[in-house]
Amino acid sequence: LVKVRRDAEFLYDFPEDQIEDDHDIVQFGGKGVTEAIARMIRGLGYQVSDPQDEDFKGWALNVSDRRSEFWLRFSDLRPTGILVTSDLTFPLWLWPWPRRAYVDFLSQLDAELRRDGRFREIKWFANYGSPTEVPSIRPAGD
């Protein structure tokens, strides 16, 4: 049984793009990083939405191909970025284990993040935030 770690934490070198006025945040930062991730995933052959503003939660992407639908959200907490993902594929809800397509997608994404020189120290978590979890350098496997 393949263990899936669906959330990633990494360091990154991107210019700050948060927009603020004299009083408050007008647009939360992280859109640029999310656009870069979207381009990366498009290069893998998936259809990817434009980044969607989710306010203080970050920026979201909807990813799909012929058989799968995934959702990602990036939170710009520089120098650390958090990328959470979900498999929202219909109608494979009967399948009790992580789908091969999801595992493949995360593995491809991990490889692309590592190939891109702007992301560093990429770690994957099954339950991000858990004080006891030891992260892995791979999104799937033991």
């Binding site: 948060q18 930062g29 989710e54 306010d55 203080f56 939170s75 959470v84 935030g129 004080p131």
Partner: protein, 362 residues
């Protein structure tokens, strides 16, 4: 009974014994109440007979009362046709059954509504915690709606036929005149009772739609933040006082707040961004909003702050813990949704409930 009514008098009772004044008055009151009940019942039967076009001959008040008493006692030989096949009898009993059906129908409406709302709550809860099956059902229902809309565009007459069919079924279900009177009294009672129940259920549904909507919306703003961690904990975690002061400002009214069912599920915006789905406790500070959102959303971990603070709000840094699945559903759902789903009591319960009293992973 006619004899008793004709020869009422102080002196002797029906057994020929001397009757006291107290006994006489008690008997008189009983006979009067019997006569009044019989008269009312007979009047109703008379009206039904007139509506049914039946010739019911009751020339005097006494005949009317006697007929009513016969109806009360179901006596054979009353001045009417045998009740089981009497059109008048069926009307009277049918009307009564319809009235009773109304009451039962209101109860059935409440029961079905409660069941439906409970099912809805369970469904939303499943959706909320990422149940794939619930997500699939939403998408499947959406797909069917789209299929129907597409079919309607190519064949608009089908929509007209469907509407007519729905109207026809509604009339049969709700209008006793839409179907013929049954042959026997038991069948007629059953028919009218069924129609009455349908009417009662409709009454309940209509009333709850009128009252339930505004009532539920009235709960908007009644959410509260369940608990806030002390400021000292922020300072101990390394947050600067000026950062804490910013986090203590009110959460902006223009902010996206917290969605019970996430936007990622692609439900219609009319629901996703409605008061039924957006949790926005009034007066909540920024940190209260972030803390509460973290506790109910396992896909949220931290929020960016203005650059001048050079810090971010981080649940991990603060050592926050999430609610269990039930707590996520309870605290993650806006008060209007609770009011709609669980009734006012549930909404008020959310205000009165103190999670600090709850042990374990709720």
């Amino acid at each position: 009974m006619k004899g008793r009514l004709d020869h009422i008098g102080l002196g002797r009772d029906g057994m020929g014994r001397e009757e006291t004044m107290a006994h006489f008055l008690a008997r008189r009151r009983w006979e009067q109440s019997l006569a009044e009940g019989a008269e009312a019942l007979a009047h109703k039967a008379y009206g039904a007979a007139i509506r049914a076009g039946e010739d019911l001959r009751l020339p005097t008040t006494r005949d009317l009362i006697d007929y009513g008493i016969a109806l009360q006692k179901r006596k054979p030989g009353a001045p009417a046709p045998p009740l089981k096949r009497s059109r008048t009898g069926k009307d009277v009993a049918g009307d009564l059954a319809e009235d009773v059906g109304n009451v039962v129908g209101v109860g059935r409406g409440a029961l079905n509504s409660a069941k439906g709302l409970a099912d809805g709550a369970v469904f939303l809860a499943r959706l909320r915690v990422g149940d794939r099956r619930a997500e699939a059902q939403v998408k499947h229902a959406g797909g069917r709606a789209i299929d129907y809309a597409a079919g309607a565009l190519s064949d608009p007459e089908k929509v007209v036929d469907d509407i007519n069919e729905v109207a026809r079924r509604a009339r049969i279900a709700l209008d006793p005149r839409a179907t013929p009177q049954a042959l026997t009294l038991p069948d007629e009672v059953q028919r009218k009772f069924g129609v009455g129940m349908n009417q009662g259920e409709l009454i309940f549904d209509a009333a709850s739609a009128v009252v339930g909507g505004p009532l539920a919306k009235g709960f908007k703003g009644l959410e509260r933040v369940s608990k806030t961690i002390p400021a000292e904990r922020y300072l101990a975690a390394g947050y600067k006082p000026e950062t804490l002061a910013y986090l203590d400002q009110p959460y902006p009214s223009t902010g996206m707040a917290s969605h019970f069912v996430g936007r990622r599920y692609g439900l219609p915006k009319a629901f996703t961004d409605s008061t039924y789905n957006v949790l926005r406790p009034p007066g909540a500070s920024r940190r209260q909003m972030y803390e509460e959102h973290y506790r109910v959303d396992d896909r949220f971990h931290g929020a960016k702050l203005p650059a001048e603070f050079a810090q971010h709000w981080s649940a991990k840094r603060l050592g926050l813990e999430r609610y269990g699945p039930n707590g996520q559903v309870w605290y993650g759902s806006p008060a209007p949704l609770k009011a709609r789903v669980g009734g006012a009591g549930a909404a008020m319960g959310s205000l009165a409930y103190d999670p600090s009293e709850e042990d374990g992973d709720w």
